[in-house]
């Protein structure tokens, strides 16, 4: 059985995001910083009259150096909209989701979001749950 995935580049890696998670794909304009918020909260931006919280996925994944990404995938978690910054977006296609191969050693941040592997033109791509990158209240404390 094949599902639709959005192929994107996050923190220098190619990932597959289950399409039902993706609200929309947008270009992020001006971002209002939120002082004293966790570092992965880049700030607030406007998306068609809604305020979205911009999440820097590089920092969320523990990759050093802030990204310069201006594109984002919008996901909705607990009634709040988040713009997850991505480096680049490829396309949407149908893939079969396979479990992670034994012995795939991922660091904690990646392991927390990985859901499996999809095979794209013979190249394995990590399927991720983007919503798990959204910081919960407890993380900020």
């Amino acid at each position: 059985m094949k599902d639709l995935f959005l192929i994107a580049h996050i923190a220098g890696r190619t990932v597959a995001i289950a399409s039902e998670q993706v609200g929309s794909v947008v270009d992020i304009g001006e971002v209002t910083p939120v002082p004293r918020a966790p570092r992965l909260v880049r700030g607030l931006a406007t998306l068609r009259s809604r305020v979205v919280t911009v999440i820097d996925t590089r920092i969320a994944l523990g990759v050093d150096g802030e990204g310069t990404a201006a594109r984002a995938v919008i996901v909705r978690v607990d009634g709040h909209d988040y713009a997850m910054l991505v480096d680049a977006l490829d396309d949407v296609s149908a893939f079969a989701l396979h479990p992670l191969a034994n012995g795939t050693a991922l660091v904690r941040e990646w392991r927390a979001i990985a859901t499996g592997i999809v095979e794209r033109d013979g190249e394995p791509v990590l399927a991720i749950d983007l919503t798990r990158l959204v910081p919960r209240a407890a993380m900020a404390a």
Binding site: T32, V34, P35, R36, L44, S49, R50, V51, H80, A141
Partner: protein, 760 residues
């Protein structure tokens, strides 16, 4: 038709439609507890609404059905087929009655007794309720889901942003006057629309409060109690959704207060309280919350009874309950299935109350606070979050970032280098001295880790309920009304922000949480709760009075009941007649009392007082406040202007006695309804000019005329006048019946004697 009634009809109709499925399911399986509860809630709600809408037939039906359903819930009666049928017949009947009310047609009430009788054990329904009338009035309003309003609102905001972009492009790329004029028109329409759409979501809390006086009156009357309700802050605006959620809890609480809280007049008298119970319902905005308070001066919560009830019902262990702190004991009122009163009444029912109330409030992120004083009253405060509400804010800037501060929290904004402002570093902290107040100071740029801009800072003084402090900001930009929504959890967790918003410029902005900011900076305030509370109790007992500074500089107060209004009058309208001050106002002359020299100023404030018949004025220097007079008032030594002395805020205040004022001014006449003695005077200019006013001032009605005029006493200058006329002479003489015409006392006493004679 009454708006409340419309609301009730729409709501009942809607619930009935939703209930149809439940009813069928219950009929199929009478043991289904969830269905039973749904039907029970329905009849309970109908019963509650009928109480204050004055729909006795519906009230009777729903009360009867509720009784039976309660018995089923408690397991006292089995839900057999006959019972189910009877309840369903009643529910159907309620639906018919509601339709009939809406269509304004009469519905035969025969059979209702039978319906109710059928609810009794082991009875079969013998009468089929009359078939529906077929009338269904055209609906006058549309009920919309809040979700739809949300979408409308969000579409509206989109439109504003699109308009802004269009305007920018037109300005930059195609500067054309005709295009700009069209855009201008669009802008005006959009602004109009936006206001309307915003209004559809917002409602004054007044819509909740308007029903209260009537409800309180009816509820109190049906219990043989007398309750005065005061409503304050009715113009606080709340999100429609919040208002809907608050509606039932408020009704429950108010009813509970009257039913369980406020005692019967006899019990109140015995407790040394006034017979009239007092209930105050108020709404106000405090920080990022709206607080609705319901305060009564009843008996408070009897925690011993609560514990006895809970232990008696076997729900809780008596010893455990007694070990609770007083606060925890109070919270027992929220235990499910508890009714503080022993007998079930039509008013507050059987403990469906407070647990549901709390669940509803907490459902919208609010909380409920109790403050009970045994024998003195209960204060219930409902705190609901401001999020979703439109809040007037002031936009401040630090560095190049902007934040909103709720205007309601702001006491004052001053510039750092203004007069009478001093900022001192005290150790690691900063203190601002604003005139005579010394307040802790927080620099927003420190709190936010933002660089500070150069230039003079502005000091925003904010009050957070337990104290005030100063927030130093770089700039104060603007005021704006904003829709504040909760920010993402990670942002809210900082504890510094109350929510996020999207102002007109399209850049998201955060609203500061003033309490959180203070906590973050480590400010602590000593809570003066105890002192405050004893104030409230004192307030519930006294008489309201107008506090003012008299012309002689003394602080005095007049009971508010006597005060009509305070107005400023030109001193030239004040004159002295017959040794008394008179004020010409509204085309009439009223007596005036002044306790000092009033002539210096061109105008003076006058308290207009009335006893219902007479009016009089009291000249004052300035009106200060409305205060509640404590009950312990020192008695005056002699009756006079001042009926007593009391202390208000540590200052002695003399209480002016309106009774004495009117009693002493009453001789001025105008008591036209009692028969006035009539004095007739001869036709003479001197009599008319000199004597008539004197007589009039003494309270006589003066008529002019010769013999034959019906009069109690006659004055004349004619030495030959006959009978018992009082003859006035040009010189002092001893002739009997003659009085020297400038002997004022003798004239008045002669007139008095004659009138006394005539009366006899």
């Amino acid at each position: 038709m009454d708006e409340l009634l419309q609301e009730f009809i729409a709501e009942t109709r809607e619930t009935l439609e939703a209930l149809a499925g439940e009813i069928v399911a219950w009929e199929a399986d009478p043991t289904d507890r969830a269905r039973l509860d749904a039907i029970f809630r329905f009849v309970h709600t109908v019963k509650g609404s009928c109480g204050f809408l004055d729909l006795p037939r519906l009230a009777r039906l729903s009360h009867a059905a509720e009784d039976v359903l309660a018995a089923v819930r408690d397991g006292r009666r089995p839900a057999d087929r006959m019972l189910v049928n009877a309840v369903l017949a009643v529910v159907d009947r309620i639906g018919e009655l509601v339709e009939a009310i809406d269509a304004q047609v009469a519905l035969d009430d025969s059979g209702e007794d039978l319906l109710i009788a059928a609810l009794a054990e082991g009875r079969e329904i013998v009468v089929q309720a009359p078939s529906p009338t077929g009338h269904r009035a055209a609906t006058r309003s549309v009920r919309l889901s809040v979700d739809l309003l949300d979408r409308m609102m969000s579409g509206m905001s989109d439109m504003v942003l699109a308009r802004n972009e269009l305007a920018r492009r037109v300005r930059d790329e195609h500067p054309d006057p005709a295009l700009e004029a069209a855009l201008e028109r669009l802008s005006a329409t959009v602004a109009d629309m936006r206001e309307t759409v915003t209004r559809t979501r917002m409602q004054k809390i007044d819509t909740l409060f308007t029903a209260l006086p009537r409800m309180v009156r009816d509820t109190a009357a049906s219990l043989g109690k007398s309750v005065t309700v005061t409503v304050e802050g009715a113009d606080v605006e709340l999100d429609r959704e919040m208002i809907e959620v608050l509606r039932d809890p408020l009704v429950h609480i108010v009813r509970n207060s009257i039913d369980h809280g406020i005692e019967t007049p006899a019990a109140r008298r015995a407790a040394g309280k006034r017979e009239n119970g007092r209930l105050t319902v108020s709404a106000r905005q405090a920080g990022n919350q709206i607080i609705v308070e319901i305060i009564d001066d009843g008996a408070g919560i009897d925690t011993d009874r609560l514990i006895a009830k809970l232990a008696g019902a076997g729900a809780r262990n008596d010893r455990d309950l007694r070990a609770l702190s007083e606060r925890q004991k109070l919270d027992l009122i929220f235990e499910p299935g508890l009714s503080a009163k022993d007998e079930v009444t039509e008013i507050s029912g059987r403990g469906v109350g407070m647990d549901i109330v709390r669940a509803a409030i907490e459902g919208i992120g609010g909380r409920i606070e109790l403050d009970s004083r045994r024998g003195q009253g209960l204060r219930i405060a409902i705190h609901v979050p401001l999020t979703l509400s439109i809040i007037p804010t002031i936009i401040v800037g630090v560095g190049d970032q902007r934040f909103a501060i709720p205007r309601q929290a702001i006491e004052e904004i001053v510039s750092e280098d203004a007069e009478a402002i001093r900022i001192d570093r005290v150790g690691s902290a900063a203190l601002a001295t604003v005139r005579d107040r010394r307040l802790p100071l927080i620099d927003l740029s420190d709190s936010m880790d933002l660089p500070r801009a150069d230039g003079t800072r502005m000091l925003v003084i904010v009050g957070i309920g337990i104290g005030s402090y100063v927030i130093a900001v770089d700039t104060v930009h603007d005021t704006e009304e904003l829709v504040i929504k909760p920010a993402a959890p990670a942002i809210m967790a900082c504890g510094l922000f109350a929510g996020q918003t999207l102002p007109d410029n399209g850049c998201p902005m955060l609203m500061l949480d003033c309490s959180g900011l203070a906590a973050d900076a480590g400010l602590t305030f000593v809570r003066e709760a105890e002192a405050e509370d004893s104030d409230t109790v004192a307030e519930t007992l006294g008489v309201d009075a107008l506090l003012f500074r008299d012309i002689d500089g003394r602080l005095r107060a007049i009971p508010l009941a006597a005060v009509d209004r305070v107005e400023t009058v030109a001193t030239e309208r004040i004159g002295t007649t017959g040794g008394a001050l008179r004020l010409v106002v509204d085309d009439q002359i009223i007596p005036l009392v002044a306790g000092g020299d009033w002539t210096a100023a061109p105008a003076i404030d006058v308290v207009r007082m009335t006893d219902g018949v007479l009016e009089m004025g009291y000249a004052i220097a300035e009106a200060l406040d409305i205060v509640t007079l404590p009950e312990d008032v020192a008695d005056p030594v002699v009756p006079g202007l001042v009926s007593g002395v009391t202390l208000i805020d540590g200052e002695p205040v003399e209480i002016v006695d309106p009774f004495w004022l009117f009693a002493s001014a009453g001789t001025g006449g105008a008591a036209a309804d009692t028969r006035q003695p009539v004095c007739a005077i001869g036709r003479d200019p001197w009599l008319r000019g000199f004597v008539a006013p004197m007589l009039a001032r003494a309270g006589y009605r003066v008529v002019e005329g010769g013999v034959g005029v019906a009069a109690d006493a006659v004055l004349t200058l004619d030495p030959t006048a006959s009978g018992d006329a009082i003859r006035l002479t040009d010189s002092r003489s001893d002739a009997p019946g003659c009085i020297y015409r400038y002997d004022r006392d003798a004239i008045l006493s002669a007139v008095e004697t004659r009138i006394a004679g005539a009366r006899r």
